[in-house]
């Protein structure tokens, strides 16, 4: 299908907007059930300590308190073993050493913010008051915050079953081929970078209401999540409750970014409380709780080396990763590691690759997928290496890329790590971006900045990423038509702000030739949860997966309807044509509308498919200005040319890019979760201390599309949700380094805060 086949609904806004602009959305904290109780968690204020005792007697006597739960209750309930997904073989066949994690800490606590006890009371204030009466006696143990220190031989051991705090050691590629290539290289560029630990911070804090039905021995959870199928699998594994006994209500979700995918200890503990008290139990996280105990993102340290020949052709790349996974393995952490090897070559022909991974456990909050889940990390290290190499061999950064891009004729392109990139026009993409950013005119702009006393830098990143594939067996979509001709589409994917109600309804409306308002999307509808399979929304997969199946389902409905219409029209199905929601035949003037098929009851079809990865790619070019007197950097311009295949809704896609680029800008210029190295105390524990991007950080993006249709998706679409992060981390990082390099500053790690940049400038001046 061509892009033209889609009508664009951009100017009128999204289907969701009428609800969300008027305060009529239903987020998780907005749910209230009759007779509900309120939960409040007591959290560890130690990073590593033995829990000698937890005395709940005074709390239990506090007015309004119904129950207090501790680690012993979690262990008794069997809520001790969350599933993990690092189930690929490690080095020499090593299996992941997964620590147990009682849903309330038992015996030991391992990070500041870990839940130790939960008070359940008639009101939230009663629960909060009583939690202050719980007495915890600790015996302090030394924490370890840095993942490199955690892997050192004399580091404190955090889990009995994880020697050396090493959860997994893995490798990919061909070490010998890389050694050979490096030995004959004309130039080797080396760079050690940190992709910092950040807090995803969707604006909606986590909130759940759990209730228990004794008759069915089943649970209903009102949640904020990225789709119920993955959450249900995680939660079933953690609690031992069969999946068919778990039901969910999920309506509007206030952002996810990967952090809303996994099952958390709080889910389990609330289920336990609901079963014990026989009442619905509600918990709403505070922001500070969220920063302390929701999963963090990134947290990778990479030591990289790139080998080049005399002409600047890449020969080989070697990467050594230390992945900080925090104190426990989150159930959704696989992609965070695996995605870094899927697109390890980036957009280049690099004949030999070798990477090692050491997955470390530390006295910090668990780390999991965060917008891009490893994709921005690998793009950052590869693109920083390439720009660093260009500077070292004194070649234009765009020219070095040009010499090494995978040519269009090489697609589908099999990478040395076993991925198959389906389709791209990388040279075309690069040249379009260079024109859009006026790459040639940069020296003039730089001179202008210098005249005004400012440093200026330009940074380029040419990136590719895997999107679309999921772990579910398949994506299923049901389409139902009622007698009025109203079309309802059911998916198991779940928007957290992506606008699926608009995009997916558009796909179906276009296929059926109906106006958009006739089609309604229902996501994770309770009555379909145990009937339809599908992936959660994450990994930029939903339009590729569920969206494509919406298209297939609409066509299946047409075929199903054609047979029924043929009967009604008394002709052969081959004589029935379909257009604008109506079946007709040249044999007569009679018409059968879609709704007519449903006169004796709704008509529905289910379509299914499973798709592999699509590979969106892009070239982002940023220019920054740095004030040498303050170290403050500002974005002077940002250009993004992206190949995301066919676009269904340009406004929605542009919005995804804006958001992703801004998140990357946040990470480059300020965001970082900081723990005190000695005590493990969380230093950036609230929005008072944690840097969040604000209006004006990213003033504008000049964007262009450079589509090559996906060969994987029948719609030709590729994922877009994470592209902004993947492109912006390296583009902005390279831009700042380009501004500072003339001063003799070779490398700074993110976040490039004014203080850090100012100190680097002073140090460089003092050296001269």
């Amino acid at each position: 299908m061509s892009a033209k086949a889609h009508k664009h609904h951009d100017p009128v806004g999204r289907v969701e907007d009428a609800r969300l602009t008027t305060g009529a959305g239903t987020y998780a904290a907005d749910w209230n059930l009759p007779g509900q109780l309120y939960a409040h968690f007591l959290r560890s204020d130690r990073a590593h300590a033995e829990i000698v005792s937890v005395d709940t007697a005074a709390a239990l006597k506090s007015p309004g308190v119904r129950a207090v739960f501790t680690g012993a209750d979690a262990v008794r309930a069997g809520h001790v073993k969350p599933m993990h997904t690092l189930n690929f073989p490690g080095k020499g066949g090593m299996q992941t050493r997964a620590p147990e994690r009682p849903a309330l800490a038992h015996g030991k606590t391992r990070f500041v913010g870990e839940a130790l006890a939960m008070v359940v009371a008639d009101s939230l204030s009663a629960a909060q008051d009583a939690a202050e009466l719980v007495q915890v006696e600790y015996r302090d143990l030394p924490p370890v915050i840095s993942p490199e220190e955690a892997l050192a031989p004399d580091a404190p051991r955090l889990h009995d079953r994880v020697p050396g705090n090493l959860a997994l050691e893995a490798e990919v590629g061909d070490a010998a081929a890389v050694d050979t290539a490096f030995a004959r290289a004309a130039h080797v560029t080396q760079l050690k970078v940190e992709v910092t630990r950040v807090a995803p911070n969707p604006m909606e804090p986590r909130a759940y209401v759990a209730s228990y039905d004794a008759r069915g021995d089943s649970y209903t959870l009102h949640v904020c999540c990225q789709g119920i199928t993955t959450l249900r699998r995680h939660l079933s594994a953690y609690t031992g409750v069969p999946e068919e006994k778990l039901h969910f209500e999920v309506r509007d979700v206030g952002g996810g970014f990967g952090q809303r995918t996994p099952a958390y200890p709080e889910h389990c503990t609330l289920m336990l409380a609901a079963k014990t008290t026989g009442k619905p139990v509600k918990w709403v996280s505070t922001r500070s709780e969220g920063i302390a105990c929701d999963t963090h993102g990134r947290a990778n340290i990479i030591n990289g080396a790139l080998a080049l020949d005399e002409s600047g052709k890449f020969l080989a790349m070697r990467l050594d990763w230390v992945n900080d996974m925090g104190s426990y393995l989150s159930p959704a952490s696989m992609g965070h590691i695996r995605n870094t090897s899927t697109c390890m070559t980036g957009v280049y022909r690099i004949p030999a690759l070798y990477a090692t991974y050491r997955v470390a456990l530390t006295s910090t909050a668990p780390v999991s997928s965060y917008r891009g889940a490893g994709r921005p990390d690998i793009a950052y290290v590869v693109e920083r290496l390439v720009s660093q190499a260009a500077a070292e061999v004194k070649m234009d950064a765009a020219e070095l890329r040009r010499r090494n891009l995978i040519p269009p004729g090489a697609f589908p392109y099999k990478t040395p790590t076993g991925s198959t990139y389906e389709n791209a026009d990388l040279p075309g993409l690069l040249e379009k971006a260079l024109r859009l950013a006026d790459w040639k005119g940069y020296p003039k702009r730089r001179a202008q900045s210098v005249k005004q006393g400012r440093l200026r830098g330009i940074g380029i990143a040419t990136v590719i990423e895997n999107t679309g594939a999921g772990q579910a067996a398949k994506d299923e979509v049901e389409i139902e038509v009622d007698a009025t001709g109203k079309v309802t589409v059911y998916t198991m994917s779940k928007s957290q702000g992506h606008g699926h109600e608009t995009t997916f309804a558009t796909i179906v409306a276009n296929a059926l030739g109906l106006p958009l308002e006739r089609v309604t999307l229902r996501q994770c509808a309770p009555e379909k949860q145990h009937r339809l399979q599908g992936n959660h929304t994450g990994g930029s997969r939903s339009t590729v997966g569920a969206g494509s199946v919406c298209h297939l389902a609409a066509h299946k409905l047409i075929e199903h309807g054609r047979a029924l219409a043929a009967l009604a029209l008394a002709v052969e199905p081959s004589q029935v044509e379909f257009a604008r929601g109506e079946f007709h035949t040249r044999e007569s003037k009679r018409k059968v509308r879609l709704g007519d098929l449903a006169k004796s009851g709704p008509v529905s079809v289910v379509a299914e498919a499973k798709f592999g990865s699509t590979f969106p790619n892009g070239c982002h070019i940023a220019e920054v200005e740095v004030d040498p007197d303050t170290g403050a950097a500002s974005i002077a311009s940002y250009c993004a040319v992206d190949d995301i295949g066919t676009v269904i809704n340009h406004a929605v896609v542009e919005g995804q890019l804006h958001g992703g680029v801004a998140m990357g800008a946040g990470q480059i210029f300020g965001e970082k979760v900081i723990y005190d190295r000695d005590t493990g105390q969380l230093v950036t524990g609230s929005f008072m201390d944690y840097f969040m991007p604000r209006a004006g950080l990213l003033p504008a993006i000049r964007g262009a599309e450079h589509p090559t249709p996906s060969r994987v998706s029948p719609l030709g679409v590729k994922g877009v949700g994470e592209s902004g992060c993947t492109g912006s981390l390296p583009a902005l990082g390279n831009a700042v380094m380009d501004a500072l390099r003339p001063l003799g500053i070779e490398h700074l790690d993110m976040p490039l805060t004014p203080a850090k940049v100012w100190h680097a400038i002073q140090d460089a001046k003092n050296k001269k």
């Binding site: 804090p205 505070t286 922001r287 919005g655 929005f687 604000r694």
Partner: protein
Amino acid sequence: MAKVTIKVNGTNQTRAVEDRTLLVNFLRDELGLTGTHVGCDTSQCGCCTVHVNGRAVKSCTLLAAQANGAEVLTIEGMAKKGKLHPIQQAFSECHGLQCGFCTPGMIMATAGLLKDNANPTEEQIYKGLEGNLCRCTGYINIVKAVKRSAKLLRGKAR
């Protein structure tokens, strides 16, 4: 306990609440006006912005008792007779929202900002929204929506 009467979206509401009840909890829990959101616990995010006596205020920064006798306007009071307020319309038209969680606060903050300055520059908009956080949009379209709102309110939009 404190007996509090607040005129919310034009209607007087009287409730007896715990002294420590914040205005935002009064709106959400006592009146069921869940369009006003809570996104943080340190008064940084602005998701709970409402108007108190005509000024944009973060409703987590004052006690319900302090708002006794005040007039409060929430997001639920912005659309009139099923017709979106021009600011709501502008946010939708400019795709100035994605997940929508910060949106009620953004809209109320925008209404406050435009009351003080009917035609703000981009820099003035950045300053006016520095107390409101959004994690989805990257703010570019929010700034566009504020500009469009200003035009609509000045009656200059097409």
